[in-house]
């Protein structure tokens, strides 16, 4: 797309110049990062290769005894429950914030710009801290509880969803909206009958993707002590039971792929 189109004659010099600088920066970053690793002082630690071998052999076969599967089902349910609660809270908070941040409501002017800018900054602050860092702070502040974990995931996710929603709502082509406006629709109606329907599948697709991420986030909340798939992975790793680790990993992968498949099917059915 970008490199194939004939650049405007005046821009050729700038194009080549920018490309060259960009390549230099990217290759420089690659070389710097690879060279800065202390390759000399033992990358694989003592016994590391034996552990790797044991880990790979653990796949044949993964642990499937009924007792352990009961543990797996309970852990999967915990993770799913936290992910669903977190993503629903994130949608409920992120959607209104995103709509205000997109500046689609209210009459054009400086006040609207200021409000939208403030909300955008707020969303940026929410998403700049990783969910597990939020979780560690919340567990220290509120104590260990499901609510603290759900809040820890929902805050950065509301920030991300809000940003994406506001960008999607902003990038809508203006012609159909102008039609609505000329027939006397208020900004709220333009939003409801114009903007939202036009980007609905994109919104849905991104929200589904975030739900998939929320599953992963809920799984790693084990790190602050909440039970779930990550917690069991940690326990099994600690006891060097690698075949159990594999079972848990495969269930986590299956869960994520299931959500991915569900999302694709829903979107295809809406679009066609």
């Amino acid at each position: 797309m970008i490199w194939t189109g004939p650049p405007s004659l005046r821009g050729v010099g700038r194009f080549v110049e920018t490309r060259r600088l960009l390549s230099l920066v990217l290759i420089g970053a690659l070389v710097w990062s690879v060279a800065s690793v202390g390759w000399g002082d033992g990358v694989i630690h003592t016994g590391g290769s034996d552990a790797l071998k044991a880990f790979i052999l653990g796949l044949f076969p993964p642990e499937i005894s009924p007792d352990f599967l009961k543990v797996v089902v309970a852990a999967t349910w915990q993770t799913l429950v936290h992910a669903v609660a977190a993503i629903t809270l994130a949608i409920v908070v992120g959607l209104p914030l995103g709509i205000v941040a997109s500046g689609a409501l209210g009459s054009p002017g400086r006040a609207r710009l200021a409000v939208a800018g403030t909300f955008r900054f707020g969303l940026a602050v929410m998403r700049s801290i990783h969910e597990l860092v939020w979780a560690m702070l919340f567990v220290t502040a509120f104590g260990l509880s499901s609510i603290a974990v759900v809040l820890a995931i929902a805050i950065p996710y509301a920030g991300i969803l809000g940003r994406i929603y506001s960008e999607l709502l902003n990038d809508v082509p203006d012609a159909p909206l102008a039609g609505l406006r000329s027939s006397g629709a208020s900004p709220a109606r333009v939003l409801l009958y114009g903007r939202i329907p036009m980007v609905f599948t994109d919104i849905l697709g991104y929200t589904f993707y975030r739900f998939e991420c929320a599953l992963r986030a809920a799984a790693i909340m084990s790190f602050v002590g909440i039970r779930g798939l990550g917690f069991e992975i940690q326990m099994s790793l600690h006891d060097l039971r690698f075949n159990e680790v594999w079972t848990l990993l495969l269930v986590l992968v299956g869960l994520v792929l299931l959500v991915d498949y569900w999302s694709g099917r829903v979107r295809r059915n809406i679009q066609s």
């Binding site: 630690h45 700049s128 502040a141 509880s145 609510i147």
Partner: protein
């Protein structure tokens, strides 16, 4: 007998109600559970704890530190932790570099129109197998969270920047690999086909027909992922993978809360710096 369109609508409706039911059950399960913590929130105990923690974080309440200097007002501590911030930045760049190189080496056979010979070349059965294998590897590496990769990798590799970077690289390899393969699948086949009919070799087709169309999008994805990776470096640091994350966890468990505040400040500085840098580089990609 239902019409196909009716079946589609009922699938979407069913999904919607299914998710609604799941939501209600999840919230009831959490709020009714013994470790929900809802009583603490309602009785105000959680909020009082949080207020106390916040005071210790910003140093108003110095009962834990015994009146020692606040870490984030101490230039010496800033200089000491600068090394950790540097390591964190290095880890993020290394992770994205490793992921980028791995994707560059594998994204072509993972595109359906390349593996089935649609863009020229031979539709060998081996390519079909390779296509499915790569798609599975993308899905697997993507579905396992970075922190879990890191927990596994510190079993094999010495602690430091490298295991963290590899953990981040594996997860992002799956994400960027899939997106890049989809870019190839959705690209305009015209240039590649014209090159083929003009007698270009496979290598020439790659260089002039495929790479120029896909490279900008690939680099854009990579830079977007860099913005995410810098936020996650702290998390893989929790499992002895070096950088700010390890120090953050230690400070938190030793109740050195003003140190925690200092590390959060470093973290935010890195996040903002990477966001700005990534935006500048992405603008450079789009120059024409």
């Amino acid at each position: 007998m239902k019409l196909p369109s009716e079946r589609r609508i009922s699938f979407v409706k069913g999904s919607f109600y299914g998710f609604l039911v799941l939501t209600v059950i999840s919230w009831i399960y959490i709020l009714a559970g013994s470790e929900s913590g809802i009583e603490d929130f309602l009785s105000g105990r959680a909020w009082r704890n949080a207020g106390g923690f916040l005071k210790q974080l910003i140093g108003i309440d110095d009962s834990l530190t015994g009146g020692a200097q606040l870490a984030f007002l101490d230039l010496g501590r800033w200089i000491e932790t600068a090394k950790l911030a540097y390591q964190t930045l290095l880890m993020s760049v290394l992770a994205i570099s490793l992921a980028g190189v791995a994707v560059l080496l594998t994204f072509l056979p993972a595109a359906r129109n390349v593996s089935n010979g649609d863009l020229g070349g031979m539709p060998l059965p081996a390519l079909g197998v390779l296509y499915h294998l790569l798609r599975f590897i993308f899905a697997f590496t993507r579905a396992v969270p970075e922190l879990v990769w890191a927990m596994l990798i510190v079993f094999f590799l010495s602690p430091g920047v490298l295991p963290g970077a590899i953990a981040l690289a594996l997860h992002n390899y799956g994400i960027v690999g899939r997106l890049s393969a989809e870019v190839v699948e959705n690209m305009d086949p015209g240039p590649a086909r014209s090159l083929r009919s003009a007698g270009a070799s496979n290598l020439q087709m790659l260089a002039y027909g495929i790479i120029p169309q896909t490279m900008p999008q690939f680099l854009t994805y990579l830079l977007y992922r860099w913005e995410v990776v810098i936020r996650t470096t702290v998390v893989v640091g929790f499992v002895n993978a070096g950088g700010l994350g390890r120090e953050f966890r230690l400070s938190l468990s030793f109740f050195q809360y003003t140190d925690v505040a200092l590390l959060i400040m470093w973290y935010l500085i890195l996040v903002v710096a990477v966001d700005v840098l990534s935006t500048v580089l992405r603008k450079m990609i789009r120059v024409d």
